[in-house]
Amino acid sequence: MTDLALFRQETRQWLDAHCPEEMRLPMSEEDICWGGRHFTFRSAAQKAWLEVMAARGWTVPGWPKAYGGGGLSGDEQKILNEEMARINARPPLQSFGIWMLGPALLEFGTEAQKRHYLPQIARGEIRWCQGYSEPGAGSDLAGLQTKGVDQGDHFAVTGQKIWTSYADKADWIFCLVRTEPDASKHTGISFLLFDMESAGVSTRPIKLISGASPFCETFFDDVKVPKDQIVGERGQGWTIAKYLLTHEREMIGASDNALFAKTDLVADAIQSVGVNEDGHLDDPMLRAELGQFLIDEICFDAHMQMSGAYMRAGHELGARSAELKYLGTELNKRRQSLRVSAGGADDLVWEGTANSAGQAAKDWLRAKGNSIEGGTSEVMLSILSKAVLKLPG
């Protein structure tokens, strides 16, 4: 047996033995384990699953073992994913630490920072939020004004962030701050890490069209950030921010993005619309639209597979993460629109028992943010037209 075949066999046995039955059921957004100081587990099984996976380094299977990871190769990670998918195992932990900060620290952090922060992320002990956007700096992110004044041993941070996802639930923030007031727009920014319990930090949740309040306005009033909590050099924050964004976009675009609330559209449609005597969905236009969607979904899945293999072969996606982000999020918007169309009046129910009891409508509304968060579709297309197609500025 090859090493990989052996790895698959061992992984399959281990998952069978250790993944609780409850953790193999379909999940909704509320079932996501985000970890952190204040996280309340929804069940004993959820907690046990996190602990046993973290102990093996499999919450972050690709990270080095020294930092709490599993030290798996690309091929081994693919096998682990496939074996988890085979039994519908839920991801034991999801977090901005895993998706965004971790990769940036692995690339730009000092050895001490990696040893300190990464294992906490891997074990789900510290939950991170992302302090990028400001009221005046969204797509034009480098126009950010939150300032960090040099006070000798620390920076004093003052300003406002907005759309900070889960800021009210997060323990720490990775934050873009203007520390070099005399430098140019892009070279005056630093990448700082600090505790959300620091004096001077406050958050105010924002209610969304879906009714949920996953993100906040975040205020900093003279927050003390020790100087060893800077990642990279002073003024290097934009480079790190962009690197992190490529990972964020890869994650958002990915077809296995758990936030995409994927359901079996065909089964949904059969259930609500029914099938006519020809054996066709009893709504020809919906059927036609669904057909086009299915083709595009098959196509995008194939593209994700190819990009996975591309990265396992050692290539960086770079600007092409914008391509996956654009395609994946636009596709998910179509998916959710079709889902509520198929549901018809039943999916107009906001609270109640019909159909998905309002979940489809909420997922549909949530999906509208997919092509905004992490950089809008327009920004993705602009990036591609310049970085990949080399069209003139």
């Binding site: 065909v266 449609a269 059969i270 099938v275 054996g279 066709h280 969905l281 059927r287 036609a288 669904l290 057909g291 086009q292 299915l294 083709i295 595009d296 098959i298 196509c299 995008f300 194939a302 593209h303 597979q305 190819m306 990009s307 293999a309 591309y310 072969a313 290539h315 092409r320 391509e323 654009y326 395609l327 327009e378 993705m380 297309l381 602009s382 591609l384 037209s385 310049k386 990949v388 197609l389 080399k390 069209l391 003139p392 500025g393």
Partner: protein, 369 residues
């Protein structure tokens, strides 16, 4: 984004290099202007490189490089608008012969691989692709086997040495090999919008021998299904080449044409459409590769993937060629530019072996609706 093997990389580079050098769009124009829709001279050259036997076993003179390799060659042919019997003979006919095996493969395999003969698939009987509606019949009579019926859109049928005809015998599918010069066969050549040849063929009580029957019943159905899957995937690969070539010309134009004192590529309205097209081409590329790889692996999802690829390319090919003309403005409408040539080839490939609607419908049925 596919990571090609070293072998596949070499094949792709060799194909593009060879075709661009002597059989590119300029050569295509020369053939068209001379009214030559067959490009017979190319056949022995590409046979010499193994392309005509790309899917045939080595035992009958093929190189057996597989579907992915065939797709890479077809993509280069799409880019260069190369006129050749590759799709009809090296893909469709070779796949049928390979599937039926036996003496037919022994006899015709080497001739196909060496480029001595070409074959065309006579399948369609209506203007849209309906492989399940066949009225052409093979009958057992007192004087032997007789074939009667009428076929259309027989691609490369005007030049083929043999026709593989899909017919019915007592309700069962049957594949027969017919010499177009035989008594009762009337071949009417059609010069198509993409400057290729296709034919309508009438069979009026054509006498056939038992040896002309390639396969019957389930065996014939399986061989036809395999050939159609291969043909669709390789046609999608050619269409990808056409679409990429059209897109590349348009992207170049955005970098060079000036209006209002600036390069038109500075207009965001065009940048975003160009970037959207680029994304669509990138994912279509992955799907075509996945479909061809699935055929090579013989995996269960190969039919689903080849049909999805064919349907997807019909849309992306249209997007690429239509955007190409639009982004060029008036000059895009001229025959002097290549965009119209790409658009016409794209159109023909979209219809060939089933359009987007045909395959989308199949996928919906396959999913139970």
């Amino acid at each position: 984004m596919e990571v090609l093997s070293e072998d596949h990389k070499l094949i792709a580079e060799a194909a593009q290099g060879f075709l661009k050098a002597g059989h590119g769009v300029e050569a295509f124009r020369a053939l068209r202007d001379a009214g030559d829709d067959k490009n017979a001279a190319l056949r022995s050259e590409i046979a010499g490189m193994g392309w005509m036997g790309i899917l045939l076993p080595e035992a009958v003179g093929g190189v057996d490089f597989g579907y992915r390799a065939a797709g890479l060659i077809a993509e280069a042919m799409g880019r260069n608008l190369t006129i050749s019997p590759f799709l009809s003979s090296a893909i469709l006919a070779a796949t049928v012969l390979r599937a039926v095996g036996g003496t037919a493969l022994q006899h015709w395999g080497p001739r196909l691989a060496e480029g001595q003969v070409t074959m065309a698939l006579a399948l369609e009987e209506s203007t849209k692709h309906r492989p399940d509606r066949i009225a052409t019949t093979l009958a057992e009579t007192a004087s032997g086997l007789r074939l009667t019926g009428r076929k259309g859109f027989v691609v490369d049928g005007g030049a083929a040495d043999r026709l593989i005809v899909v017919a019915k015998q007592g309700g069962a599918c049957v594949l027969v090999l017919v010499d177009p010069a035989a008594d009762g066969v009337v071949v009417t050549e059609q010069f198509m919008l993409d400057h290729r040849n296709a034919a309508t063929v009438a069979f009026e009580d054509v006498a056939l021998a038992q040896a002309d029957v390639l396969a019957m019943g389930a065996e014939a159905e399986a061989a036809l299904a395999q050939a159609l899957a291969a043909g669709r995937a390789v046609a999608a690969a050619e269409q990808l080449g056409v679409a990429k070539a059209a897109a590349d010309q348009s992207f170049d134009y955005l970098r060079t044409r000036k209006q209002f004192g600036v390069l038109i590529g500075q207009f965001q309205a065009l940048q975003h459409r160009a970037a959207d097209l680029y994304c669509e081409l990138a994912q279509a590329d992955s799907l075509v590769a996945a479909a061809l790889n699935a055929l090579d692996a013989g995996s269960d999802d190969s039919e689903l993937l080849t049909r999805a690829a064919k349907a997807k390319l019909a849309r992306v090919g249209r997007q690429a060629t239509e955007e190409g003309v639009q982004m060029h403005g008036g000059i895009g409408m001229t025959d002097a530019m290549d965009l119209g040539l790409f658009m016409k080839r794209d159109r023909a490939l979209s219809e060939f072996l089933g359009d987007a609607g045909h395959h989308t419908d199949w996928i919906l049925r396959h999913r139970g609706i």
